[in-house]
């Protein structure tokens, strides 16, 4: 069997069949295609807007723009500035004398 042997049958078949109008089916399918594409477009639009919005919010947000006061590590803590005061305090400060509470059970 060759392609030539089937060709007359195919031609006769194609000449014999007719197109049956199916307006409802056509409308349903084309509408479905349109709504499907519209949904996809909407989804993509929302995604784009969300991304752009996120970038915009980050850009205008005050958080990254807060100016922290410049700090000098040598002066920031002031460590040692009041060394004399601290030293005198430490020299003068007295430890509390231990009262001996609990040393002996009979002493309240």
């Amino acid at each position: 069997m060759t392609n030539d042997s089937i060709t007359p049958w195919v031609l006769q078949y194609r000449a014999s069949v007719e197109d049956a109008p199916t307006p409802k089916l056509d409308q349903a399918i084309l509408a479905a295609a349109g709504s499907h594409l519209a949904r996809r477009r909407t989804t993509r639009l929302i995604a784009r807007v969300s991304v752009i919005g996120a970038f915009a919010m980050f850009a205008i947000s005050p958080v990254p723009n807060v100016r922290h006061p410049a700090t000098d590590s040598r002066t920031a803590s002031g460590y040692g500035r009041f060394e004399g005061t601290s030293r005198s305090y430490l020299l003068e400060v007295q430890t509390h004398h231990f009262t001996g509470f609990g040393v002996a059970e009979d002493i309240p």
Partner: protein, 207 residues
């Protein structure tokens, strides 16, 4: 229209495989290019595709589903599958092969739901109705010949009918018919060969 059925003896030579097809993706107006446009959101491209294959697909389904009343439903399911699966479509095969593969699966699902497997019809369709085509007044009318041919096609076993319709409606080659129906090349050839043999037998009086 004169159709010369000049090959009435069933040729036993092997079916020729379908000729190599050009790469359809390179053609601007090809189905695959249109599907590509549709994938990118072009609604008009889908409309073109639908206009091209609306009738062939519907006729294919009408002659394949167990109940003719279900044909529009199956056709709609097929197109909806194309719409929903547009992102997944890859032009490795022709679009028409893809489209009719979906229709084939949907039609076979209908048979499964009915609990009747189409293979059971293979033997049941040995008796080809030919009474109407022997009426003398039809002999001179090509319209009658067409009606007889359609009747003979309807009487074909389902899988042979499907093979013939895939060739006639979708223009598929043997390899593509095998791919659509999920069979191997030899099976597809055999189905088409047997279909033609039966058609010749049923239209013998038109020779």
């Amino acid at each position: 229209m004169e159709i010369a059925f000049d090959r009435w003896i069933v040729a036993e030579a092997p079916l020729a495989a379908s000729p190599a097809l050009p790469n359809p993706c390179l053609e601007p107006g090809s189905d695959e290019a249109l599907m590509g446009h549709f994938q990118r959101g072009d609604e008009a491209a889908f409309r073109h595709l639908y206009d091209r294959y609306r009738s062939p697909l519907l006729r294919f389904v009408q002659r394949l589903v167990p109940d003719a009343g279900e044909s529009e439903e199956v056709a709609q399911e097929t197109w909806m599958a194309v719409i929903r699966g547009r992102e997944r479509y890859s032009p490795r095969a022709r679009f028409v092969t893809y489209l009719f593969s979906i229709a084939h699966r949907r039609a076979m699902d209908r048979w499964r739901k009915r609990g009747r497997w189409p293979e059971t019809q293979l033997n049941a369709a040995d008796e080809i109705p030919g009474s109407c085509i022997h009426e003398p007044e039809w002999r001179s009318q090509n319209q009658a010949l067409g009606a007889a041919l359609l009747a003979a096609i309807s009487a074909l076993p389902l899988l042979q009918r499907e093979a013939f319709l895939l060739r006639a409606e979708a223009g598929l080659g043997i390899e593509e018919i095998a791919r659509v129906t999920g069979t191997n090349l030899e099976t597809a050839k055999s189905r088409l060969r047997y279909a033609l043999r039966r058609l010749r037998a049923s239209l013998e009086s038109w020779k």
